[in-house]
Amino acid sequence: SSDIPEDDAAGAASSEQAQDGGEGAKFFDQAAYDRQLALAGTAPRGPADKPWEQMLDPQMTDTAKYAKKGGAKGVHLCFSNAGVFNPWRQVGLKNMKAEVELHEEITKFTVLDAQGKDDKQISDIQELSGKGCDALIVSPNTTATLTPAVQEACGKLPVIVFDRGVQTDCGVTFISPIGGYAYGAAAADFLTGKVAKGGKIVALRISPGVDVLENRWAAAKKAFDKAGLQVAEVKFTDGDPSKAKSIVSDALSRHGTIDGVWMDSGATAVAAVEAFEDAGKDVPPITGEDQQDFLQAWKDKDLTAIAPAYPTFQWRTPVIAALRVLGGQEVPKQWVLPQPVVTEENFDTYYKDGMPPLHYGACGCEKLPGYPGAWGGK
């Protein structure tokens, strides 16, 4: 027998892949870019104080066929996690677990961790689809590679995908913030506004080969080119702060001055700031992420900064969505969450005193049970 889903949408998948992932970032996808920038300017629907329940431009879809008899009670919820290999995912998983606790109707919550292995996640998904779960949440490790497994699971139970997508729309809903283009553009636009034409920008990227990050960079590059900023260095840091610090120090000694620092995610932002300090230079306009240590540095050092968030509150949404689906309520086919950007103005909303350095400000977790202790805060 074969576990390959009968309705293999191979053709469709491959063409889609060429846009979203894969070589996608090499040739910039104008349509996706435009859509994301438009969404960034749209007002979300939903409760204002609960961004994880908000949705942008939703196309609702009917879920009656998934409704659990007798309503969403005694729910067994399952989650195939790509892994917890970075702080963002760790904060996210805490959010999700806390969200589950909020709902008494969830009686069992099974999490399988793939530890970053696509291969294992495929097996995990297969295993979970035969385990009597009422609904399956998937946070895929890699966009392209989990498609078949998810397709297979779709035939057996409602599947909710979030964070990274898969190349099939068989799931009930796909939850994610606006996307990489919006993220990269938000950061880049900030710099183009602060740095004079011809200014030198250093771009710090985590690692090649991750599509979301490629999109962020593609959008930023476009913005820099348009504004006539000079990208002096594009380097990969592997997420290692000491490598980031070395890169910025070297760039400083090579170029004399750096007028702006762009980065595709926040893990190494503080190291970059410190590189300037240690060289005895003023920190130029810099972008980071909503990670606590960066916000802290921003506050303490009064930086000119911006921090687009890839919000960890999105980890709450799949649970909510699952319950809605099992209750027969409609959900958006593509549940696009707002993607907040931390700026001077809204800084205090995201900065929380006493949280650990690798915490993420846009966690939406402040009212969850166990906060702040479970997130390591005081």
Binding site: P208, V234, G239, S249, V270, E274, P356, G376
Partner: protein, 344 residues
């Protein structure tokens, strides 16, 4: 007797001559280092200005310290693959400690971490020597255990902020110009040189060379080997303190450092398998590696291709160093020729 003349004339060689000979043992690595530094000077005119050169040394310091520790283990005939995990664990544990005791004095935390690193070394050493598990496997297992344990303990991410006082050591400068990491590096280097000239060091080399002969000469082989692991663990923890100071909390501070350290040591002409090599050359290997990273950085080699260049250079350096010198022609472990053992 002719004997006297041979012995006396040849030993009349002076100390500097001997020092030169010692340096010669690591010949290729010094050449490599000089080439890389020259290339750096050409690439970046200001490289040898005191500030930027000291900054370079500061950045190299953790790797140099790791290499010194790794050297001790390698020269005694083992491997320490756990040092990267010790660094990660050290950084995370430091942050975790400060999370619970924000007022902890930096010196106490530093000493505590170094001791903890030493304890890891004790475990490595005892498992290797007493249970007979090859050190490759012992330290590979230890790497999994440490990484797992520290994140399990912290629930995935460290909880505390490292205060400036603790970070001063890795980040700040003495008198405003001399990064603390530089004297730390010098002290560790001097200590390593002293250690290798001491009874212990000589014993360690002999043990790596021929453990049976060492045992029969009264060397407590398991203890000596364990001590090498202990020092390597402590060195790794010290490197963790420097790295934590240099760049702050990170959950992947030590990733891949074990391979970098081993590469540095091998670049220094040290024989994998034990018994041969100088610690100064091993540390020079670490400097070379750091110089190579910096050069690749400054040269603006396409970020992604950096590792390719690095791989080629390391293979070439070790390959040329190996075939160029007859004495080193076998980086493989020598087999002691059986000497007519069955004659009657």
């Amino acid at each position: 007797m002719t004997t006297d003349t041979t012995t006396t004339t040849t030993t009349a060689r002076t100390a500097p001559a001997r020092a030169l000979r010692r340096l010669g043992a690591g010949g290729p690595v010094y050449a490599l280092l000089v080439i890389l530094l020259a290339a750096l000077a050409i690439t970046d005119a200001g490289f040898f200005e005191p500030d930027s050169f000291l900054a370079f040394v500061k950045r190299a310091a953790p790797l140099v310290i790791l290499a010194a520790g790794q050297y001790l283990v390698i020269v005694s005939g083992g491997f320490d693959l756990s040092v990267g995990a010790v660094v990660t664990a050290g950084v995370v544990a430091g942050a975790e400690l400060y999370g619970s005791y924000p007022e902890a004095p930096w010196l106490l935390v530093t000493v505590g971490l170094v001791m903890a690193g030493a304890v890891v070394g004790v475990a490595n050493g005892l498992i290797t020597t007493r249970l007979g598990v090859p050190s490759f496997i012992t330290t590979l297992g230890m790497m999994l255990i440490l990484e797992g344990a520290v994140f399990y303990w912290t629930g995935g991410s460290p909880q505390g902020v490292l205060p400036a006082s603790f970070r001063e050591f890795g980040r700040g400068s003495a008198g405003g110009w001399l990064p603390w990491a530089v004297p730390a590096c010098v002290v560790v280097g001097a200590a390593a040189v002293w250690l290798m000239r001491s009874d212990f060091g000589r014993t360690l080399l002999a043990t790596g060379d021929n453990d049976r002969a060492a045992h029969l000469a009264g060397v407590r082989v398991p203890r000596v080997r364990t001590l090498a692991f202990v020092l390597s663990g402590a060195a790794a923890a010290l490197a963790a303190v420097l790295i934590a100071g240099f760049s702050g909390v990170s959950a992947q501070a030590g990733r891949g450092l074990e391979f970098e350290a081993i590469t540095a040591v091998v670049l220094g002409g040290v024989l994998l398998g034990g018994g041969r090599g100088s610690v100064v050359a091993a540390m020079a290997g670490a400097f070379s590696l750091q110089a190579l990273f910096t050069l690749l950085n400054l040269q603006g080699v396409s970020g992604a291709l950096e590792s390719t260049v690095q791989g080629v250079i390391v293979i070439a350096a070790v390959g040329l160093g190996a075939t160029g010198r007859p004495g080193l022609s076998r980086l493989r472990r020598h087999r002691s020729q059986p000497s007519g053992g069955t004659t009657s």
